[in-house]
Subunit: 213 residues, 2 copies
DNA sequence: ATTTAATTTAACCATTTAGTTAATTATAAA
DNA sequence: TTTATAATTAACTAAATGGTTAAATTAAAT
């Protein structure tokens, strides 16, 4: 390769443009020409660097998931205590998704269209049940600090309360006639509300009310 | 129209096939030929009865939403007491979505691709903040029975805990290596767990632990 | 029975879009 | 400065796919 710099520069521009278009429109809604325009280059370069639409999409998909999954596990395996991890997890993913509104729909959609991909990255996923986070939950239950909830429901509750509101935010803002500032505050508030609700749902003793109003 | 029966029979077959294919693959992923095959008819009939792909899609979209939204409001406006409504709502939509796994992704996706549709059916949506259900919540708060939560967060929590797990079930079953019977039981359990968690999050006094194990 | 109109189909057309190619330009090596 | 290679482009091709049409079939009306 004569000019690795230029090569990777163009490839990078393509990846950024493809990321934007694929995440917004999905595999079938996206157009190669639109990606080329977004990158400000000739369409032939997409094939020069990535051969086909399917391979370009794969590259984007891999990139997104290779950042996403380790990010989750890193938080859940960390040294913090259990309740701190909940706050970090919720805050982190609220920030991440509110700033990339299209991402959760993309992820949900792609898994839905192509569930067999989950097999491929199976190992990264299956580390979760034996993660430190789940161990901490179980220890808390043993100690009588938490109710005997199952990890499956507990994780699902936490993730649902964090991610779904981002998916549903167009509907939410329409229903409650919320402006963008109100919407931003809504998600900011959830960083506090969700961890409290999660903890409250597993604690053996009642925790304070969580909205002052 | 000479034979209304035959007409509507074929149109019906088309609608059913289109529903199936569009909900599974989305507007862009769906193919007219696939819909025709699914209906067991010639592709030209799709255009004979519905003119274009876009119009056929509109018909499906309208049908789905015209069933969906009134169903929500009917529950929320009913005569039952507040806590009963929560149980009915959660149970109803868990059943509905577990039996139509593709539906929530379709809805989320379509709103995401085409948010301006929300304007069109705006009135049906905006009835929610003034629904009897929300009034009941506010009365409970006034009476000191419930914590002063906002309707926005309360509704979002309830809907998130109900719908998101259906979206995420492929990931869930992979992570926790769940077989189909276990998965079915998981969603059955949520009919009890979710209402308890919701109530627990707003009650001024602690409610019993909700998983016996 | 015959005629008329609606329905259905196979074959075709038009458009869109992914993908290719041959020529051009920029870059690095000799 | 010349040569070789990589990068880029405009123009093109091939395939997929939405949509049309003209002929055939079925059903209804007379």
């Amino acid at each position: 390769m004569v000019n690795a710099q230029k090569h990777s520069e163009t490839a990078q521009k393509i990846l950024e443009a493809a990321h934007k278009v694929f995440v917004k429109k999905g595999m079938y809604g996206a157009r190669m020409q639109e990606i080329a325009d977004e990158a400000g280059i000739n369409k032939a370069l997409l094939h020069y660097y990535f051969r086909s639409k399917a391979l370009l999409f794969d590259a984007i998909f891999q990139k997104i998931f290779s950042q996403f999954l380790p990010g989750i596990l890193q938080i859940l395996e960390g040294e913090q205590n259990f309740e701190e991890k909940i706050k970090v997890f919720v805050g982190h993913y609220l920030d991440q998704f509110v700033n990339n509104k299209y991402l959760p729909v993309f992820i949900v959609n792609e898994i839905h269209q192509n569930p067999q991909r989950l097999y491929e990255m199976g190992q990264a996923l299956r580390g979760l049940p034996s993660s430190r986070f789940i161990t901490q939950l179980k220890e808390g239950i043993e100690a009588g600090k938490y109710l005997p909830v199952t990890p499956e429901h507990f994780m699902m509750n936490m993730i649902s309360l964090t991610i779904f509101p981002v998916l549903a935010s167009p509907v939410l803002t329409e229903i409650f006639s919320m402006d963008s500032q109100t919407t931003r505050q809504f998600f900011e508030d959830r960083k506090k509300i969700v961890p409290e609700m999660i903890l409250n749902s597993i604690s053996t003793k009642k925790i304070k009310g969580h909205e002052a109003d």
